[in-house]
């Protein structure tokens, strides 16, 4: 079972079925081990709470320490409705609590997601603390302050012929188990949807996820709202389970415990929080009542947690997976290894449609005028006029520090120009975002590989292709990845183009350098741009790899418009129809390769420092 793979499931409902079986078996098996039903119920609530959090932390890579705010919000809204407002229907109240938490989550996310990394962690902690104080003071009339809200009723279902009452202990278990099951089924669909794939991409490399055309802020906010909804519903269940909504749901400790349980069980697995909660709560019971450790149990758990984070990075589930992989790997190693040398295949050329040019569009694909970039007093680019026509393959050369990479960064809108204008397909794109520009059909492959490292080759390409097929933001949360029309063909075509078909299921981390370079180009190709920029595609390659890659680029260049930067001038002259030479941030000369070779100024620029000899 590997929930972190985007392409799963030869048996698509296996995980769901096993979960259902396990949940049904629990009340028949666990009583033999003297497990307290209340502990089991609490584990389910924590597990459900954690499913949403794992989508946020494990899948999207956003570590929030503020989930208690949403847990408390959902819990108190539901509890308030059921107690003070006299609302009769428990399940509806839980859903309303969930919606309230999601709305609050949206607002909180707007603030917290303005920054990433540690800033995000710090801001979520601060927000959670605010909620705690608001609950205790300004809102205490509604929330009961430090007394909480007692008297939360338990749910019952009227089936017409019979009334199902879920009270406490094992009698409440079926209700909680059903909630957990629905929660996990929905979450499994979400992580297997195109959105789930994009979330992983954001975790692995947010910069590239944005550059291939995904609106990463929108997707992060989506993950945050999903986590909030799960938290809100679980918060409501807490009140139902205890017949009392405790104010400590809002405490920072709640967030902390959730984070720790998820890390203990294994992040990015969906089931990790449940496993972590089981370890946590059973260990707590054991340390407290069997070993009589009293309050010291938390010290022991803290130590266990630190050791676990140090040595078992992916938690218990991750550890088991590695163990399983090790055992299987050994067995596989005994079998004769079939050499998997990728056989170069004739690329299928232009079968992949590029972004169409608008009807009646004539003139250049790209027109940059007066483009200038200053960094403080340093002029990286000065007054560059540049034009590329449809179908052209243009080369750019220039000595180190000539401003080639800065020039590319301005064209793809990674950095805004100090002055000047960029027109792409007749549209002014100056000041747009990388994401929007990629969606319009202009993208680049990077000088230093920017890949999604823990994903496979096929998944990498799929993420770029998804942006082209679905647009920059779409909430197809419940659609299977295989249902995205044209995805499979596009991924296969791209893999064939860059000659990685046989390596499709290899994680990026295991690729050879040359293969990574080809994948880097593949990521840019998969969005089928109408203008493809290649920043030093040959950098760091061996002479043989260069020859192969030049052939590859030639076949890619058929029917495409490309601009290529490289230091390998011979290869570039072979590829490009026209070449622009940059020197000290300005255009030195432009012409066909032959013209460039004969140009005195170019020879001087490259030989350098011999200007005295005339």
């Amino acid at each position: 079972m590997n929930a972190d793979r985007i392409y799963t499931a030869r048996r698509p409902l296996l995980v769901e079925a096993l979960t259902a079986l396990a949940l049904i078996a629990v009340p028949f098996v666990l009583p033999f081990f003297d497990a307290a039903p209340n502990t089991v119920n609490r584990i389910l609530v924590w597990g459900l709470f954690g499913i949403g959090f794992d989508i946020l932390f494990g899948y999207t890579g956003l570590l929030s320490f503020g989930q208690s705010a949403l847990y408390g919000t959902g819990g108190f809204v539901a509890a308030y409705l059921l107690t003070r407002a006299g609302f009769p229907h428990v399940i509806t109240a839980l859903v309303i609590g969930m919606v309230a938490a999601a709305v609050v989550g949206y607002l909180v996310g707007l603030v917290a997601l303005r920054r990433t990394g540690i800033y995000f962690a710090m801001i979520t902690i601060a927000i959670a603390e605010v909620f705690f104080f608001v609950e205790f003071n300004p809102l205490s009339e509604w929330t009961g302050g430090e007394n909480g809200l007692p008297g939360v009723p338990t749910p019952s279902l009227d089936l017409g012929f019979a009334q199902l009452k879920f009270t406490t202990g094992w009698a409440l278990y079926p209700f909680l188990a059903a909630c957990y099951f629905i929660g996990i089924v929905i979450a499994l669909r979400v992580v297997r949807s195109p959105v789930g794939a994009v979330l992983r991409a954001i975790r692995e490399n947010p910069l590239r996820a944005a550059a291939v055309g995904h609106d990463i802020h929108g997707y992060k906010l989506t993950a945050f709202v999903i986590a909030a909804a799960y938290a809100g519903f679980a918060g409501g269940l807490l009140g139902v389970m205890q017949a009392f909504m405790p104010p400590d749901a809002f405490m920072f400790e709640t967030s902390g415990q959730l984070v720790m349980q998820t890390a203990i069980g294994g992040r990015g697995t969906l089931f990790g929080p449940l496993v972590g909660a089981s370890v946590w709560l059973f260990l707590q019971d054991f340390l407290q009542s069997t070993l009589n450790l009293g309050a010291t149990w938390k010290l022991v758990l803290g130590l266990v947690f630190v050791v676990l984070v140090c040595f078992l990075r992916q938690g218990i589930i991750g550890g088991l997976r590695d163990l399983y992989g090790l055992v299987r790997g050994k067995r596989r190693a005994e079998a004769p290894v079939v050499p998997t040398v990728p056989t170069p295949r004739a690329a299928s050329g232009t079968s992949m449609p590029a972004h169409e040019l608008p009807n009646g569009h004539t003139g250049p694909v790209l027109l940059a005028t007066n483009l200038t970039k200053h960094y403080g007093g340093l002029a990286a680019n000065e007054d560059i006029d540049f034009r590329v026509d449809a179908g052209e393959v243009r080369g750019i050369i220039g000595p180190n520090g000539a401003g080639k990479t800065t020039f590319f960064k301005m064209l793809t809108c990674e950095v805004p120009p100090t002055a000047g204008k960029i027109v792409f397909k007749g549209r002014d794109i100056t000041g747009k975002s990388v994401t929007d520009v990629c969606q319009l059909g202009l993208t680049k492959s990077y000088q230093v590989n920017q890949l999604f490292n823990r994903l496979t080759v096929r998944e990498n390409v799929a993420i770029a292709a998804l942006a082209a097929l679905r647009g920059k933001f779409r909430l197809d949360l419940l659609r299977g990845l295989s249902r995205v029309e044209g995805l499979e063909e596009r991924v296969e075509q791209t893999l064939a183009l860059v000659n990685l078909t046989q390596r499709r299921d290899t994680p990026v981390a295991e690729l050879a350098y040359g293969e990574k370079r080809r994948l880097e180009i593949g990521l840019a190709l998969a969005s089928s741009p109408s203008l493809l920029l290649l920043d030093e595609p040959l950098a760091g390659m061996s002479p043989r790899e260069r020859v192969e890659t030049v052939e590859l680029l030639k076949s890619i260049g058929k029917g495409r418009t490309m601009i290529v930067i490289d230091h390998d001038i011979d290869s570039l002259f072979e590829l490009a129809e026209r070449v622009t030479v940059l020197q000290e941030g300005r255009v030195l000369v432009e012409g066909t390769p032959d013209e460039i070779k004969r140009n005195a100024a170019v020879q001087e620029a490259y030989l350098g420092g011999v200007n005295g000899v005339h």
């Binding site: 603030v111 990433t116 710090m122 300004p138 984070v259 010291t296 630190v306």
Partner: protein
Amino acid sequence: MITWANFGSQLFNGLALGALLALIASGLTIIYGTLGVLNLAHGAMFMLGGYAGYLAWQSSGSFLLGVAAGTLALGVLGIVMERLVIRYFYARPHEDQLLVTFGLAIVFVELVRWYFSSDSKTVQAPALLQGITNMGFMFYPTYRLAVVGICAVALLVLFLVLYRTRLGMIVRAGIEDSVMVDSLGINIDRVFMVVFGIGAMAAGFAGFINAPIVSLAPEIGEQILVQTFVVVVIGGVGSFPGAVLGGLIAGEIISLTSMVNPGYAYVMLFAAMTLVLMIRPRGLLGAKGRE
């Protein structure tokens, strides 16, 4: 009822709290700036400093010894922590660093709870600084007044270390680009250890200085940590002047709001942080491009 005297004393309370927050936040921020690790155990270390000082103060009766013990014990703890745990996390993702320091914070808090119990402990200010000072326009507790001065001196010392010594120059260069510093032939590894020690000492020092104002309890670090985060977000991560400015702003917001309604102190603090994030996401004095 808000009187001028009340307003004046709250203003000073804010100054005392702000100076303390500035000191703690500068420790946190130079550690993050140099090592790239956000230390979630910083609040717990503040609390440990208070308890370490308390032990020395109780057995000797000397406040100065308490200060020294709180500071030095935390310096040692910081170095040990860096050598045994933190340095293995430099190459790991931020999330792992957050998780492990969070775990350490829990261990520290629970250790103290186990050894000292959950009951709060009070430290008396030294005789010289007890009582009330007549400032002409109002009366104000002498010790709190002294705290402003003590923290100002400590911040000055930190400033001198950071801006007037070779080590400080390396640290500030490391905040800009630690890889570059390393390739210049400077042993960045040792610098990291020292920086972590200095940051821990600042927390420990503040922990004991604060003890006569707010009595010691195992959980006091948590609240201070949250306030410190707001300080750092407002001031800008990695910026020493930002930590000082942010500390004073946060201190005044908390005190002045408390004068009107203590329940809204955090709401106002949060509103200020949100405002800064909206108009200047990198913080008031933060360097551009740092995440």
